[in-house]
Symmetry: D2
Subunit: 292 residues, 4 copies
């Protein structure tokens, strides 16, 4: 199948390679001419046979909106756009409407796999009309892992990114679960070898998982993680998961706790704990730690 | 009324003064001879008329146990011991039993008031037999604030400290509530003057309280709390509250969150967030912050 | 001062009364002709001298937008609109812009006080240009409680509702704090009289507050709250507080826990706990409770 | 190797079978004569050659203490007791001391595997002296899963149960993570097929795990879990994990949230939410739901 691919960063570049390995003809465009197959989006569109398929793989938000705006102008009725980036599901609904007004189809695809995807395949969660999704099946089949899993048509437009977003929310809480357990084990004197405990859990336990395998890899590189700072970014999907929960009145205590732990990890000093210290000092005369 | 008072620190010393101001005869003992009225606990006991009342106001745990052990030997049947320190309610039950075996009565008293108690009175939450509690009423009346509030016979032995413990648990979450709100207001550009917002809340709002008044005092001293570190100790009662909740299968999400925020505030770097950083790096190739 | 007041529900009606008691001339409009002073918004605008002041006190969202749209058409340059409802601060920014385009000023006012406001005054948190806010001072002075507190000019447009929103977030966590403590005390056998413990806390403690007074009122009406269901609505501001926290990467664990507790209180049966039950059954053969 | 095994319930019975399949000679004792190989513990001890190995597999708490007390009398110096039940690590320290006083060794073994253990092997986390642990290796090798994982000597006496306890804490939060995500997906209209989303996640995603496989099994049996009640017990280890965290000042927000969600799931009506409802009614005149 012939297709365009816009955005050839770490994810997009690897996806192009996996698609080509599967026999597809991929014309890639990136703002960086060293990565790009064509000099412009116009060229990319010109070189694709109609009805065209263009996969967008650029950062969520402004960059994606910019590409969608361009494609709305360049593409023709019957063409089909896939947003495989990390867009918010609410943006999908807007983009689908914008493109639909010009007769262009839209499918959203949540893509998981990270640096391991090129080799193992990318898990795909897809939202959109059945007709559009069916047209893209050869591409999805090339990208997804072998075997029966790793692909789902999750529902209407937006459902793919919604499912991927919830996947990431779950991921946050699972990571937090291991992290909390690890800290507690490291803290206790009678426990000698936390790394080997983690390693042993990889078989026969209820908590065996791919994330656990990665934790063992990390501990093999740096047993007590002494080289790292306890600092973690968050990437949008965690926040959107909590916001979606609030919109739907669904309590998400563990996922939200995991998000807040990341927020706190990025603070040099906690403003709210200054207020706690100030209050303790006011009513109890408790000593406070003044700044150096 | 004549009574002994063991422990003349910040709290005990002020209580002695308030009791004497109310006309009671207080013989105080402290390990620090500069604070003490008598050279030893033996002297204190000797100078009190039978049946004696001895109020213990020393740190919870070993120090209190040591004094109880001594008093169990020195006192006589019919005497009465009050533990006004911050003992765990489970210790009260043990102490009551230990003293009861020698005919000595025991009452536990949770005392709130901090540095403001000398002037405003101490809130008292009392546990023990009605007969013992009634005998102590003149002392409680002298210590408590004027007016109808500030004193309760909460239940059996241990109930006084249990009520005080829950009071402190509630206090943790109330402080956390104001602290979270303050941080959010400070973070937002369109809000100019957080201190004045707090001040305005002191009348007409749902959240007016004595803690709010203290927050305003603190902000008047240091508008953005720039002189403080976001570092807060916890004092036992918060932990015991959560443990009691676990024993009784009662969910305490807000109080527990407040306790954990204090734990986190005392960590130079968060071990659990190192694990989060390590995992993100493993699966996503996300950059990690290495140490200096 | 002459002013229009749109929305004469429980809040608006009481505010009209308090304003009139203070000597202001208030022309009220409500969709309900039995409450309204004039038959239409057009009449209200016609009867006010220029430059007009119109206070909007209708439900947040669509109803407020509808009134703003109408006023944008009916009012003239130099007139001034106050939104005293529970609008989201982000809507204020939109409304100010919409009205500014027609030369009409806008001020947002967060109003606290509930059913007690008529008698005790309403706490006001105000956002907008100094010039507009100054013009409204006589109205604010009439509404606010007597004394030095209960009014603040919090910042730019939106800051009033933002401050009120955070007030409500704090309120959620304070209520949760008392509620958690109350449940724990009620659960424990050695504690006899939880209502009297709450009553005693009203003086001399760290946690005395107006909410505590209300809790005692409630317990006086129904000592164990046996007549109530454990069911609590939430009103927008709690959700927005958490969303604002997420936007600003501020951890709000206690406030969010309080919001989630309300969500959970409204579920007949918890879907997430069904999944927990299903998983326990899968790996451990643990018994599950099947439905009726 | 010859060994005694006390407690032949679901876990103990399967372990006896797996040990015998591996060629060990197991003399089992259970209070239930239909399960037991010998009529009494005395007979079990008599039939074992010295130095004996006796594995205890009875419920934690009183039942385990009773067996340890008996074995302390029946066994001889040089014999070795293994507690493979779910004892609290703090009990291990007591039991080791009690047995050590009579020259008897003690090892604690946290055992994971549930109903799948007989076939797949049991993950073992072991605490105790190297000499004792080494003596038991043939037994551990028979019980553990094949392959390099599933066994660890975690540290001193107590470390085995401590590691197992933390394992269970992590398990609580992982289950909660999937459960929260599942509820959110089920709630949203644009998502059609949550079961197929979960199924797809089994390959190529960050959150693939054995628990996820079990979730898919459960959804295959009952797609929307309509036959279950949202009700979950907790089994001790989750509580102890949080208590250990409190003892060590380690914040465990996600694990604790998971424990509290289980507590709440078992309440017919939430007392704390009654207080929230009562307070809302007091200050805002908000309607409350009255019972029946």
């Amino acid at each position: 199948m012939q297709m365009g691919l816009i955005g050839l960063g770490k994810m997009g570049g690897n996806m192009r390679e996996r698609l080509r390995n599967a026999g597809h003809t991929v014309i890639g465009y990136d703002r960086n001419p060293e990565l790009s197959d064509v000099p412009s989006m116009v060229d990319l569109v010109d070189q694709l046979p109609q009805p065209r398929v263009v996969w967008v793989m650029v950062p969520a938000g402004g960059a994606t909106q910019h590409v969608i705006d361009q494609l709305a102008t360049l593409l023709k009725p019957g063409d089909l756009v896939v947003d495989g980036g990390n867009s918010r599901w609410t943006d999908d609904v807007k983009h689908a409407k914008q493109l639909h007004a010009r007769g262009i189809g839209f499918v959203d695809a949540g893509v998981s796999g990270g640096v391991w995807g090129l080799e193992n395949g990318y898990a795909l969660m897809v939202g959109g009309d059945k007709e559009h999704v069916d047209r893209l099946r050869p591409i999805f089949d090339a990208l997804k892992p072998e075997g029966p899993y790793g692909y789902v048509h999750a529902g209407k437009v937006g459902a793919g990114h919604f499912a991927k977003m919830v996947h990431n929310g779950i991921e946050y809480a699972m990571m937090q679960a291991y992290a909390e357990g690890w800290e507690l084990l490291e803290k206790v004197d009678s426990v000698d070898n936390v790394r080997e405990i983690f390693r042993s859990w990889q078989e026969g336990t209820v908590i065996r998982s791919w994330l656990l395998d990665l934790a063992v890899n990390a501990l093999d590189e740096d047993e007590h993680l002494e080289k790292l700072r306890g600092y973690a970014e968050d990437s949008g999907e965690g926040r959107w998961t909590v916001e979606a929960a609030i919109d739907n009145a669904v309590p998400l205590p563990a996922i939200t706790a995991s998000l807040f732990a990341r927020f706190a990890s990025r603070q040099e000093d906690s403003p709210q704990m200054k207020m706690i210290a100030a209050l303790r000092n006011q009513f109890g005369g408790h000593a406070v730690e003044k700044k150096g």
